[in-house]
Symmetry: C2
Subunit: 234 residues, 2 copies
DNA sequence: GAGTGGTCTAGACCACCCT
DNA sequence: GGGTGGTCTAGACCACTCC
């Protein structure tokens, strides 16, 4: 038989995944306790624990103290995707990256953005529009608002040669945020900036980035050229 | 001082994250060795190890044997999102879910799909078109190809009342896949099915699901109604 | 109350890889 | 060669929660 020894937690993980795949343990069912599995596999309980925790983190198992380990009914897999710096994203495609600042203004934000960024009425924000290019061709249009109260240093950065995207990622790295992905139609000005037809379908990313816990650092909308696809692996 | 004791690995994680945030350890720099940190925090090395591994998994640290633990320069945050069962997705919005099968045929796939699903020439696939509704209104249009060699049981399922989406998620333990997100323009037939204008901008999800390791189970394209936004938290 | 997973400890050995 | 992280072990205590 193919009875390879089960020593490492990866071996345990593989074996448990195999049993889930082969429906030895069916959705909704309870697994044996860690101690029992440890005996069966001939390893320490902590080794089993490590493996089961990893699988639970993937979303295939649900674990509760006293309640045991249960096979999740709707195995909603979690996909992880990385948020690239646009320059690296383009260079990864073996294309030549370029950046052009379109406008930079300190101005009063519209109501919608005031709410989105949770700033009081009357506070000004830094508003930036810029174009990122690949091989001299438009790639993505960036429309960004920055809370200068939270990141005053941004005022001193030369945004003509440095993208705000990159500066923020490098200088304010550890924060949370939320994404919203959608499809929108190119307005006349957007079409002109992206060299596409007005009304074209644009993949759109809206992102909000905040510090721990409440201050919103920046809100940005990225409009990608028609045909752009965002890839994610599971 | 706020010198709370550092006992658990979560405490260690919090403290390390605080130092990263406050740039005590700057991007590119090397952290002290686990043993040193363990001494400083007054806990076991394995506790420090657990904390640093968790942070590294988040993408903020890079760890190498012998090379030590380094602060990542471009902290590409990972976002996790769950693969939705469409029914649950709609019910979560407090709306009434509905499903209508548009067509179901066993047919020869076009070349593009043959390559996408890695099936030999001449093999037929099950082709399904269906509409998912929320409160009787169109929500998402599903265009799916299924490899009946891999999932022969699907032939016996009544797809008029059960969505293939749901049946597959519940009955086929899949191991991997890939996503492609984009924006597309509604064709005439798509617009008719979704009750929107031809040429409207549609958020589009293309997903491929495969078993370990190579067999592609299903390839699906989901066209969402105009205005749909996919939300992701970091 | 009792059984489960969550975690910590101290020690040990190993794989890797930089110098 | 030697220092680093990766992992395993055995034992212990705790937190939670189901019965």
């Amino acid at each position: 038989m193919g009875d390879a020894a089960i020593n490492s937690w990866l071996d345990v993980q593989t074996e448990v995944l195999r049993r889930l795949h082969n429906r030895v343990w069916k959705p909704g069912e309870l697994l044996p306790a860690e101690t029992d599995l440890a005996i069966e596999f001939g390893c320490a309980r902590s080794t089993v624990n490590r493996a089961l925790q990893a699988i639970a983190e993937e979303g295939l198992l649900e674990r509760k103290r006293r309640g045991g380990t249960r096979v999740v009914v709707h195995p909603q897999r979690k996909a992880t995707f990385t948020i690239p710096v646009i320059r690296l994203q383009i260079e990864q495609l073996q294309r030549d990256y370029g950046y052009r600042l379109i406008s930079r203004r300190v101005q009063r934000p519209p109501l919608k953005l005031r709410e989105c960024m949770k700033v009081p009425a009357g506070q000004n924000l830094l508003h930036i529009k810029a174009l990122h290019t690949a091989d001299q061709m438009p790639f993505v249009l960036e429309d960004r608002w920055i809370n200068t109260q939270v990141v005053p240093e941004i005022a001193t950065v030369d945004l003509k040669s440095n993208s705000a995207n990159e500066w923020l990622v490098e200088n304010v790295p550890f924060s949370g945020g939320d994404y919203s992905l959608s499809a929108s139609m190119a307005s006349d000005t957007e079409a002109a900036a992206l060299s596409c037809e007005p009304g074209a379908s644009l993949f759109t990313v809206e992102r909000r980035t905040h510090t721990e816990y409440l201050s919103v650092i920046t809100a940005v909308r990225l409009l990608y050229i028609p045909g752009y696809k965002m890839r994610i692996d599971l």
